[in-house]
Symmetry: C2
Subunit: 184 residues, 2 copies
DNA sequence: CCCATTTGAGACAATGATGTCTCAAATGGG
DNA sequence: CCCATTTGAGACATCATTGTCTCAAATGGG
């Protein structure tokens, strides 16, 4: 069996997103490889985190391209985006919390771009009249990350079925919890 | 100046909720005390985490009592709950992620009780017809935690005004992002 | 089928964080 | 105002994790 870099990083993201203090030993074990091999490919925790950020951002951007955020209604685009994030939910959860480490001020460039695209989607929905305007795009973006992380977490612990991922998040984010008055 | 236990724990919760790998040195510094004093009152990271859980859960329960979750409409109770969680948002963010460590299976008893009360509130809203029934109370509970953590995070980084806390969370959680058709 | 390459397991030293101690300075109650 | 108590700063040993190395076993391409 050859070394599957992306698979190892995905496993690492899944573990680190719920246990940020995991050791290299635990990460290697979660990925099903030895600590020696882990260290051969990623130099220490720093190297691992950098690789995680790089792959996570790349996959996120790919996923956003795939969702064609600029096409159709903002509502449709948002649902497509949520659905498309399912395979990268662990990366997103990791990135969203890891990004908090940039205290110094320097924000990751790639992350800023992802953030900007999501924010632009919410802004587009507000301008088209689809979305309410009393919630800032920045907050909606952050809220989306939080909901994705929460959903990934409930699925990871087996409390929710994976196939409900999109419906859970988009249902809540779009419509809220209040029951709609019977339409028509 | 005497040692303010609750203040130290609040500072620790705030730091740990966004940097789970913080050292004892960093925690002490964030709390404005020396590492020696930190260690005198909380034996190591384990002791600190236990104290954090204990105080966090106690404050959460107090906050839920204060919000009178059983009275009035579920909607009103939910808004009261959100508003009441503002001072303990950092604790909740810490507990929600820290609780993921109980992999072995044993879940913290106090946390289970808090969880149960929130879940019951959502269930009450569904049974009264206020809330939609296609989102499970367990998911709504988890989503609430995620939104609270996200809101606390945006406020901590200065991207949102603290006074918007309740409106941000309740606005999104109750109504969702879709613009309501002009009522009546 | 063989050989170049990679992996896993373990040993070991280096590193960094922690637990523990001492002592001078600060604090605050009586 | 004084003394008992607590704190902060630092030194030091201990511990856990990490970085590095070796070598046998596994792998897979040619």
């Amino acid at each position: 069996m050859s070394f599957d870099r992306d698979r190892v990083l995905a496993d690492a993201a899944e573990l680190l997103s719920r246990k940020a203090t995991a050791t290299q030993d635990e990460i290697a074990q979660a990925a099903g490889i030895s600590r020696a091999t882990l260290h051969r490919h990623f130099a220490g925790r720093d190297g691992l985190v950098r690789a995680l950020e790089e792959l996570g951002l790349r996959r996120l951007e790919a996923v956003m391209d795939e969702a064609r955020l600029d096409e159709g209604t903002a509502t449709g685009a948002l649902v497509r985006l949520i659905e498309a994030t399912r395979p990268v939910a662990a990366f997103l959860a990791f990135l969203a919390t890891e990004n908090q480490l940039f205290e110094g001020g320097e924000v990751n460039e790639g992350w800023e771009r992802v953030d900007g695209r999501v924010t632009a989607l919410f802004r587009r929905g507000q301008e088209s009249g689809e979305f309410r305007i009393d919630l800032s795009p920045a907050w909606l973006t952050e809220a989306l990350y939080g909901l994705i992380a929460s959903a990934a977490w409930t699925i990871q612990t087996g409390r929710t079925a994976p196939r409900d991922y999109t419906a859970m998040i988009s249902g809540l984010l779009l419509g809220g919890v209040e029951r709609r008055a019977p339409q028509a």
